[in-house]
């Protein structure tokens, strides 16, 4: 039975068993394994979702859903296949592109961070936020595979071979998806350069 709140103790933090071992333990009923995995993997999953979506509440929903899929697949997890983190990258990328496409989003002004006290840095922040949201919106307009490949390469800083494994395709295809995706993004964003502050950088 769950008894909130729970906190990570040193034993959890220092548990260095591999993800797949913890997942097997969870499948056999080990709640502590779930606790370690939750603290280890949720921040990664949340980060990926937030960088793709730019919306905290939505990113949290995606993170929860991705972790739920992990709990459910635990009994059938095949240790010989992809790493848990690789699998999660794929799940989150799919969930995010689904949401980006369905929402058909533009720049969400409400999601722009609150201004800081000093005006100059507030302006910078607003502009950085506007740029971020423009990129995220443009990603939503790309074909799904292009958006995923570009996001994994440039938001998650993964190598092309890693992306190929995540997307279950060849490195060559990944290179092509990224190249086409970036060309499409440049075309889309160049129409908004004034709005995004690219013309008057001082």
């Amino acid at each position: 039975m769950y008894t909130p709140p729970f906190h990570m103790n040193d034993a959890h933090m220092n548990d260095d068993r591999p993800d797949a071992v913890l997942l097997s333990a969870f499948a056999l009923g080990d709640r502590q394994a779930a606790l370690v995995l939750t603290h280890r993997l949720t921040p990664r999953v949340m980060g990926q979702a937030y960088r793709m979506l730019g919306d905290r509440a939505e990113a949290e929903d995606v993170a929860q859903e991705a972790m739920m899929q992990l709990w459910k697949i635990a009994p059938n997890w095949d240790a010989d296949r992809a790493k848990v983190t690789t699998w999660l990258y794929r799940i989150v990328a799919n969930l995010c592109t689904d949401r980006l496409r369905k929402s058909g989003r533009g720049v969400d002004l409400e999601a722009v961070a609150e201004p800081e006290d000093d005006a100059p840095s507030a302006t910078d922040r607003m502009q950085t936020q506007a740029r971020a949201h423009a990129v995220q919106a443009a990603l939503g307009d790309l074909p799904e595979r292009q958006a995923q490949a570009v996001a994994l390469r440039h938001l998650e800083d993964l190598s092309n071979p890693q992306i190929a494994e995540i997307m279950d395709t060849s490195v060559r295809t990944v290179e092509s998806l990224i190249a086409r995706g970036k060309r499409a993004l440049v075309a889309r964003l160049s129409g908004r350069k004034a709005e995004l502050g690219f013309e008057d950088d001082t």
């Binding site: 909130p4 729970f6 949290e60 993170a63 739920m68 950085t128 971020a132 938001l155 440049v186």
Partner: protein, 116 residues
Amino acid sequence: MTPETENDLDDLFADLAAEDVPVSDALLDRVMMDADAVLAASAPQAPAPVAQGLGAMLLEAIGGWPAFGGLAAATVAGVWLGVSPPAALSPLTESLGGSMIEVPLLDGDLLSALEG
């Protein structure tokens, strides 16, 4: 600087990628509650159907779980030996099975005697 080259796009991505994304305790709670729900749903179901049927009969005759105690374990063990008796133990399992069935009958007889 214009976003008309891929280098500029890379700068945009670098801003995004560098952003710190804190994780709330509320999210960790939600994730952990899901894990608990999955654990609860996959918890092994206790006794096998045959044992449950016989267990329910005995429970009724004896008067509930508090009175059941160690007899439950003995019953399940007896049922299992009855279902799958090792060859050397066959005579023993037969006698165990017989004595268990006598419990409710004896109980019923006593009740009848008291009522009559």
